[in-house]
C-alpha cells in the first residue's frame, strides 16, 4: 500500500514530510505529531500512541532534545543529536520515508527537522504487554512457573537469561506482506547443524503470505508435508523447554504476538516428554514416561480394541466377562461401532464445550456430562456401561500427553482406527497401524526422520527416549552427533 511513498526520500521541507505521512496513514488518529523547536529550528516528533512508552518519549522530547546544549557549532544538528548521550535509547538516522513508516509502526519515535534531509528514529517502544505468568497449556508441578507472553523481546530475554552464552545467536526478520510480523530464530551456534539452520532460514525467507498472526501460520507455511495428521514442529510456551531444546541443537522460532514458540527439527517422541521429566528423579521420571506411552496406546486404540473383541474376537474374552458384557449389551440396540461412536462423539463435544464455554457455566456442563451422558444413557439402554468405562478411560488417557497438538492428532486418528476395527477386527487395527507407521517413517522434520531414534534405529538414543537417563551419564542426542561429525 505504501509502495508509492516508500521509495521517496525525506525532503527538506518539514511540512511536506508531515503531510506525506498524514496521507500514508489516512485518518488514523493514533498517529501523533508533536511540534517542538530548539536552537531556533522547527522540528516535529512523530509516533504511534499505544506503541510507545509515554514516559520515555516525554523524557526524550522535553528533557533531552529540547535542552540540547549549543556547544558544538561546527557540527550539524543531526550529528549533535546522534552524539548526544541518551543513556539506553537507540538512535538511528533515516533518509527514506518508507523507513520512517516502518519505524513508526514498530514503536519508534521519529524526529523530523526543518532543512534536513534526514530524520532520526529513537527506539521508544513500549505500551501495554501482558505480564509473564504461569503457562496455561503446559503445566508442571516442579519447575519454573514462567511462561512466554505476546512480546518477542520479552520471550527472547526469557531464554537468554537461561543460556548466558555468546553462542546463542538470534536472527530477526519481518514476515507477512501486510502485517510485517517480527519473527526470530534462535539457536546455539556450533551446536545446531548448519544445514538445518540454513534450511529454516531459507524456508522462513521464502514465506510469501499476507498475514502472520500466530506461530501456527509459520508452522503451516514451513513444514515439509502439509497433509499429515502429525505435527512436525513442536510448540511450547515454556522458556525452560525452549532452552533445553536449543541446548540439544534445535532451532527455536519466535513469533511476535504469540506466547507459542516453535521448535525444529521435531521428532515424534518429543511430544511425549514433559519438561518436568528432567526435574524429578530418574526412576520416577522414567516410570511416568512409560505410563504416558501406555496411555498413548490406550487413547489411540482403546475403543477399537473393545469393538474388535466384542465383534470379532469374542473367544479372547474370558467367559465370565463375556457373559457379563453380553448381558449389558442385551438391551442396547446398536452394533458396537455405533455405540462407541455415540459415546466418543458426545465426549468430544463435551470436551470442546469445556474449552470454549464461559467459565461460569462449567458446573452445568460437568453435571450434564456426568449424569446425563453417563448414567442416564446407560439406564436408557442407549449404550452399555462397559462402553462408558472404555470411553472415559480413553478420554482421560489422552490428557496425559504433555503436548496438546499431538493429543489432537491422536484424538482424530482414534476415530479412523475405530472404523478399521469395526470392519476387520484386530487385522484391521494391525493393517492400519502398519500404514500409519509407514507414513511416520516417511515423514521428516527439517531433514530429521520423524520417528528417529526408533527408525532409523539408534540404540543409545532410543534408550533415552523411554528412560530418562541420569544426568551424570546424560548428553543430549543432537549434541553428541554434531560433536562427532561437524557437518
Amino acid at each position: 500500500m505504501n509502495k508509492t511513498s516508500s521509495a521517496e526520500r525525506i525532503s527538506t521541507d518539514l511540512e511536506l514530510n508531515l503531510n506525506r505521512l498524514k496521507t500514508a496513514f489516512g485518518p488514523s488518529s493514533d498517529l501523533i505529531f508533536k511540534r517542538i523547536s530548539f536552537q531556533g529550528i522547527q522540528a516535529a516528533a512523530v509516533y504511534m500512541d499505544g506503541l510507545i512508552d509515554r514516559q520515555i518519549v516525554h523524557d526524550l522530547l522535553f528533557d533531552s532534545i529540547a535542552t540540547l546544549p549549543d556547544d558544538h557549532p561546527n557540527e550539524s544538528l543531526i550529528q549533535q543529536l546522534m552524539a548526544q548521550d541518551l543513556s539506553i535509547i537507540n538512535v538511528q538516522s533515516l533518509t527514506d520515508l518508507g523507513q520512517v513508516i516502518s519505524a513508526v509502526l514498530s514503536g519508534d519515535t521519529v524526529l523530523f527537522l526543518e532543512h534536513y534531509e534526514e530524520a532520526l528514529s529513537y527506539e521508544t517502544c513500549g505500551g501495554e504487554v501482558r505480564a509473564v505468568t504461569e503457562p496455561s497449556s503446559q503445566i508442571v508441578i516442579r519447575g519454573p512457573k514462567e511462561g512466554f507472553n505476546e512480546t518477542l523481546s520479552t520471550n527472547v530475554s526469557l531464554v537468554r537469561r537461561r543460556i548466558r552464552n555468546p553462542d546463542l545467536w538470534l536472527e530477526t526478520m519481518k514476515i507477512g506482506s501486510v502485517t510485517h510480523t517480527e519473527v526470530a530464530m534462535m539457536y546455539l551456534n556450533g551446536t545446531a547443524k548448519q544445514e538445518v539452520i540454513g534450511e529454516v532460514r531459507r524456508r522462513l525467507q521464502n514465506i510469501n503470505y499476507e498475514s502472520i498472526l500466530e506461530s501456527g501460520y509459520i508452522e503451516n507455511l514451513i513444514e515439509e508435508q502439509t497433509y499429515t495428521p502429525f505435527p512436525t514442529m513442536y510448540n511450547t510456551e515454556r522458556p525452560d523447554t525452549v532452552a533445553a531444546h536449543i541446548l540439544e541443537g534445535r532451532i527455536a522460532v519466535f513469533v511476535n504476538g504469540t506466547p507459542f514458540v516453535l521448535i525444529a527439527p521435531t521428532t515424534f517422541f518429543m511430544f511425549f516428554q514433559s519438561a518436568e521429566d528432567f526435574y524429578h528423579r530418574t526412576d520416577v521420571s522414567s516410570g511416568i514416561r512409560f505410563l504416558r506411552y501406555i496411555s498413548l496406546f490406550i487413547s489411540m486404540f482403546g475403543p477399537s480394541i473393545y469393538i474388535a473383541s466384542i465383534t470379532f474376537h469374542q473367544e479372547m474374552i474370558p467367559t465370565p466377562l463375556l457373559l457379563s458384557l453380553a448381558s449389558q449389551r442385551e438391551s442396547v440396540p446398536f452394533p458396537a461401532l455405533v455405540e462407541a461412536l455415540i459415546m466418543e462423539v458426545s465426549f468430544e463435544i463435551l470436551r470442546e464445550a469445556g474449552i470454549r464455554m464461559p467459565r461460569a457455566i462449567g458446573q452445568a456442563v460437568s453435571i450434564v456430562g456426568a449424569l446425563v451422558l453417563g448414567q442416564a444413557a446407560v439406564q436408557a439402554g442407549i449404550v452399555s456401561s462397559a462402553m462408558v468405562i472404555v470411553v472415559a478411560l480413553t478420554g482421560i488417557s489422552s490428557f496425559t500427553t504433555p503436548s496438546f497438538n499431538a493429543a489432537l492428532s491422536i484424538r482424530l486418528l482414534r476415530f479412523v482406527v475405530m472404523f478399521c476395527s469395526a470392519f476387520l477386527g484386530f487385522f484391521g487395527i494391525a493393517m492400519f497401524s502398519i500404514l500409519l507407521t509407514a507414513h511416520m517413517c516417511g515423514l521428516r522434520s527439517f531433514g530429521e526422520p520423524y520417528l528417529s531414534p526408533l527408525a532409523p534405529l539408534q540404540a543409545d538414543e532410543l534408550k533415552e527416549t523411554f528412560i530418562r537417563r541420569a544426568f551424570k551419564r546424560f548428553k543430549p542426542a543432537l549434541l553428541r552427533s554434531s560433536s562427532r561429525k561437524p557437518n
Binding site: F312, H313, E315, M316, P318, L424, G425, F426, F427, G428, A430, M431, I434, L435, T437, A438, H439, C441, G442, R444, G447, P449, L451, L454, A455, P456, L457
Partner: protein, 373 residues
C-alpha cells in the same frame, strides 16, 4: 534432500531379513517329510543356508552396484539373461502371492470365517502398495519398528506357553521316530529352500546397502538368528501338541497358542499368532513385490520403479486368489511345483551364475597370463 540414491544400513537390512525369514515359516508347517523332527532339520539346514548365502554374497560383491537382473546380463549376455530374469520375476510374483494366500487363509481359518478372502488380501495389498510407493527406505525403517513388535509378541507367546504348563517334554522323545535320512532330506533341500533359499530375493536390495562389506555378516546373523528362533518355535509346538496333532495341523502355531489357559483368564491368545503372521507375511510379501518392481524396472528400463507398486500389488493380489481353489490345493502346489521352481531360482540359477562367472574370470586370467608370457 530428494533425488539422492536411497541407501539402507546393515541394521535395517538385518531387521528386514529376519522378518522375511520368519515370514510364513513361523506359523505354517515347514519341512513336511521329517514330521516331528522339524526343529532338528531346521538346525541341520543352517550350515547349508550359510553356504548358499555365501554364493549370493559372492555374486553381489562381484557387482556391488547391480541388482540380480543386471548382473545376469553381465554374466551370460543379453540373450540368455532375458528369459532367466523373466523366470525369476515370475517366480517372485508367484511366491509373493503364495505368502499372501497363506496369510489370508489363516485369518479366515482362525477368525474371519465370514469375510471374503478377497477383502482380507486386498486390505494387505493396499497397505503394501502405500508402503512400497514411499520407497524401500520406508520399508526398512518400518521393518526396524516391527522387529521390536515381533520380538515382544514372541517373548509374550513363549512365556505364556511356559506358564500355561502345557509343555510335555516326553513329546520330544524319541527324538527321531522315523529314519535319520528323512530328517536330512527335510533339511536338504526342503528347509534349505524354504525359508533360507528365499533370501535370494535380497539380491535386489543388497546394492542399496551403504556398506557392502557388511552384507555377508548381516546375512549370516539373520540366517543363524532366524534359524534358531524357527527351530525353537517348532520345537515348542511339538512339545505342546505332541507328535500326532503337530503333524496333522495346518497352522501349528495357532493350534499351539489356542491351548494356553492361565488361571482361566489368559485364554486364546490367537491374536498373538495372527499379529505375528500378518506382520511377517506383510514384510515378506512386500520384499518380494519390491524385488519384482526392481527387476521389472531394470528389464524394461523404467526410470522410477516406485510407480510400479500399484500394478505389481494388483497382480499379486489376483494371483493369490486365483492360484488355487482351496487351501489343500495351495499346499499341494507348494510341495510339488513350487519346490522345484524354488530350487531352480534360488539354487540352480545362482550356482550356474557363480560357475559361469568363475569360469569367465579364470579364463580371462589365464589369457592374460599367457598373453604376458
Amino acid at each position: 534432500m530428494q533425488g539422492n540414491k536411497q541407501t539402507i544400513s546393515s541394521k535395517q537390512l538385518l531387521a528386514l531379513m529376519i522378518l522375511f525369514e520368519f515370514g510364513t515359516a513361523i506359523v505354517v508347517h515347514i519341512g513336511l517329510e521329517s514330521n516331528h523332527a522339524t526343529w532338528l532339520s531346521i538346525l541341520i539346514a543352517i550350515p547349508g543356508a550359510l553356504l548358499l548365502y555365501g554364493i549370493y554374497r559372492y555374486l553381489y560383491l562381484q557387482f556391488p552396484d547391480l541388482i540380480v537382473s543386471s548382473y545376469i546380463r553381465k554374466i551370460v549376455g543379453p540373450f540368455l539373461s532375458w528369459p532367466i530374469s523373466l523366470f525369476i520375476l515370475a517366480y517372485f510374483i508367484y511366491n509373493g502371492a503364495r505368502n499372501l494366500r497363506e496369510a489370508g487363509d489363516l485369518l479366515i481359518a482362525s477368525v474371519y470365517d465370514e469375510t471374503p478372502l478377497f477383502i482380507i488380501n486386498a486390505t494387505m495389498i493396499f497397505v503394501m502398495i502405500y508402503v512400497l510407493s514411499k520407497g524401500i527406505e520406508v520399508l526398512v525403517r518400518l521393518a526396524q519398528v516391527y522387529l521390536f513388535v515381533i520380538l515382544i509378541l514372541g517373548v509374550t507367546g513363549i512365556l505364556a506357553i511356559v506358564f500355561s504348563g502345557e509343555i510335555e517334554f516326553s513329546n520330544l522323545f524319541p527324538i527321531n521316530g522315523g529314519s535319520w535320512l528323512h530328517v536330512l532330506q527335510t533339511a536338504y533341500p526342503s528347509i534349505l529352500l524354504f525359508p533360507f533359499g528365499e533370501l535370494f530375493a535380497f539380491s535386489t536390495v543388497l546394492p542399496l546397502l551403504n556398506n557392502p562389506k557388511q552384507a555377508g555378516k548381516t546375512g549370516a546373523i539373520a540366517i543363524i538368528f532366524s534359524g534358531l528362533v524357527l527351530s525353537l518355535t517348532h520345537g515348542l509346538q511339538l512339545l505342546v501338541l505332541g507328535d500326532s496333532i503337530y503333524v496333522r495341523s495346518n497352522f501349528t502355531l495357532l493350534t499351539t497358542i489356542s491351548v494356553i489357559n492361565i488361571a482361566d483368564f489368559l485364554q486364546r491368545l490367537d491374536a498373538i499368532v495372527m499379529l505375528s503372521l500378518i506382520i511377517c507375511v506383510f514384510f515378506k510379501m512386500s520384499l518380494y513385490s519390491y524385488a519384482v518392481m526392481a527387476i521389472w524396472g531394470d528389464l524394461f528400463r523404467i526410470k522410477s520403479p516406485a510407480k510400479l507398486a500399484a500394478p505389481v500389488g494388483i497382480v499379486v493380489l489376483f494371483m493369490s486368489i486365483f492360484s488355487a481353489w482351496s487351501f489343500p490345493e495351495h499346499t499341494n502346489e507348494g510341495q510339488k511345483a513350487s519346490m522345484l521352481m524354488l530350487f531352480l531360482v534360488t539354487v540352480a540359477i545362482p550356482l550356474l551364475l557363480f560357475l559361469v562367472h568363475l569360469a569367465k574370470k579364470s579364463f580371462r586370467y589365464f589369457r592374460e597370463v599367457s598373453h604376458n608370457e
